[in-house]
Amino acid sequence: MIFAHTLSSRISGIIGSAAIVLLLAGCDIDGGDNLPRVPDQGLFMLADANRHEGDDSAQVAAAVFNDGEPVNLVGGDLFEARTATERVLLKKGGPVEGSYAASLPIDGSVQDVFLDVVHLPVEAREDRWYPIDLLNTDPGPGELVGKSAIVSFPPAVTITAPLPDAVYTSISDVIDINWDPVSEGDLMRILAAVECTDGLATSSYGVVVDNEVQLDMNLDDGNEVISLDKFIYDENVGSGVLKFISDAALVLLQELLNQLSAGNIDPDFLLKTREANPIESTCEIRLFLQRQRPGQFDVAFDDGRVTGSSSAELTVIYLPPVPDN
C-alpha cells in the first residue's frame, strides 16, 4: 500500500495541531505531551529513516499505535531495520512513548531500508548481564510480528544559503534558506535543535517547521523564507508560533544529535524544560533541512506515516538586542 494521507488522518492532523497549539500556549516544554498525532482508531505505523549529509549511518525511528495508544514491543518483539548488507535492531527507546530508534550503517549506494517487526528473544536481551540463551522466558511472538514497511532515501540535500553561523538579532528577522531543488515530489521540512544561554541558565528544545507551520514549506522549490520567531520565543508572551517536535521526528533528531556529537549530547536535549528565556538569550539554532519521501507500509496497518529522508545541517546564531539604559 502506497502511503497517502486519508481524509481521516487529515482531520486527525488538524485536531492534533489545534491540541498542540493549545498545549503549548502555556509554553511548557516537557515529554508529557509528546504523543504524535495519530488516529484514535486502528493500527497506525510511524517510521522515519534519515540519511544525514556526510554521515555513514542512517537514523531510524519507529513506533506503532493501536487506537491512538503507543504499542510497547515486549517479550522479544522488536523492530529490525536492514539494508542489503547491514542490519540493526531498534532497541533504544525514544522520548516519545512507544518509540524505538537506532543508527543503521549505510554507504552512498544504499537506497532502501526495510523495517520489520521480528521476534528475537535472545538478541533482544543482549544488553543483560546473565546467560540470556540459557535463562529465557519466551512468551512467543506478539501480534505485530511479521508486519513490515519499506522506505527509500530521496536525493541528498545541499544548502546554499545562508552562510554558516549567520547572526540574527531580532525574532522578526527572517532566515532566507536556499538549497538545490530536486522537485521529484518529495516533501521538505526543517527540524531545529535550539540551545540558548543567558550567562546563568540555559534552555534547549526542538522545533519543527513544516507545511502546518508555514504554508508551502513542503515544496522542494529551493527557497524558503522563515521568520526567526519560528525558532525563538518569549516565555513571557507565549509560543503560539512555534511547533515543538512531537512525533517520531523527535526520536530521530535526538538520535541524529547523538550521532553527530559522538554521544556527547544530553539524551533529553530536546525535552528539557527551559530555564533561560530564549528571546533574552544567545541561542545556537541548528537547522536540519530534511527532504522526505513517503514509503510503503504493511497492509495490516490501517494507516501510517512512513518516510525516508535526507538532511543537511546549518547553524545560525541569535543574539538578543542590547537593552536600552
Binding site: L73, V74, R125, R128, Y130, P131, I132, L134, L135, P139
Partner: protein, 203 residues
C-alpha cells in the same frame, strides 16, 4: 570433563585425604562466621547485599601455618529490578562452596592475631531470572545450576577472649570462575566480597 579439571579434582581429593590423616587432637580450631556479602558478576548486574554463613576447620602444622577447610553457604541474593525493551526482570543467585587451603597467622604478644586464608573452592551456584512483560502476556521464571572451581582469599584479625575462645573479624573474597561455561555463550565469573564476624574454638 577435561584433563585439567580431572587433575584439579584429584588434587582436591588428595588434599582432603592428607588433611584427614594428619589430624590429631592438638592445635585445631573450628570457627563459624556470619558474612555480609556483595555479589559481582562482572558486568551490569546490580545485586543487593546478601547474607551468608561459613564454617571453617583449621589444623595447625606449626605456630604460624594451618590447613583451612571450610564450607560457605549464601542466602538467596536478589538483584534490583531492571527494565529494558523486553520487559522487567530480576535475577537472584545462591551458592554453596567447599573451601580448602592454607591459613597463615601471626600471633601478637597481646591477645590478638592476624591471619590470612588462601585456597581453592569447589562451588555450586544457582541463578534464577524472573521476567514480567506487561498485561496480557504470561510472565515466568527460569533457573539453572552449575558447578565449578575457583579460589578464595581472606584477611582477618582474631581476638582471644580466652585461650580457647576467639572472636574473628575478616574480609574475604571468593571468586568463581567460568560460571555456566559450556552451557551458554555468555559465561561469567562471580565474585563474592564479604565482611564477616565469627567465633572460634581452639582445641
Amino acid at each position: 570433563m577435561t584433563f585439567i579439571s580431572v587433575c584439579r579434582w584429584q588434587l582436591f581429593t588428595m588434599l582432603v585425604i592428607f588433611i584427614s590423616f594428619t589430624i590429631h587432637a592438638d592445635n585445631q580450631q573450628i570457627d563459624g562466621n556470619l558474612l555480609l556479602t556483595g555479589m559481582d558478576a562482572g558486568s551490569t548486574d546490580n545485586f543487593k547485599s546478601g547474607r551468608a554463613i561459613s564454617l571453617h576447620y583449621n589444623y595447625y602444622f606449626n605456630n604460624w601455618l594451618a590447613a583451612d577447610a571450610g564450607l560457605l553457604l549464601t542466602g538467596k541474593t536478589l538483584e534490583e529490578s531492571s527494565e529494558d525493551i523486553v520487559g522487567d526482570y530480576r535475577t537472584n543467585i545462591q551458592t554453596q562452596a567447599l573451601l580448602l587451603g592454607v591459613k597463615p597467622r601471626y600471633r601478637l604478644d597481646s591477645p590478638y592475631e592476624f591471619y590470612g586464608r588462601l585456597g581453592l573452592q569447589y562451588w555450586r551456584t544457582e541463578l534464577e531470572v524472573e521476567e514480567y512483560f506487561g498485561p496480557g502476556i504470561p510472565e515466568g521464571s527460569s533457573s539453572a545450576t552449575d558447578t565449578g572451581y575457583g579460589y578464595y582469599l581472606g584477611l582477618g584479625v582474631a581476638h582471644y577472649v580466652t585461650e580457647k575462645f576467639i572472636v574473628l573479624f575478616e574480609l574475604s573474597h571468593f571468586k568463581q570462575l567460568d560460571v555456566f561455561e559450556g552451557d551458554t555463550a555468555y559465561p561469567f565469573d562471580l565474585a563474592i566480597n564479604a565482611f564477616s564476624i565469627g567465633v572460634g574454638y581452639r582445641f
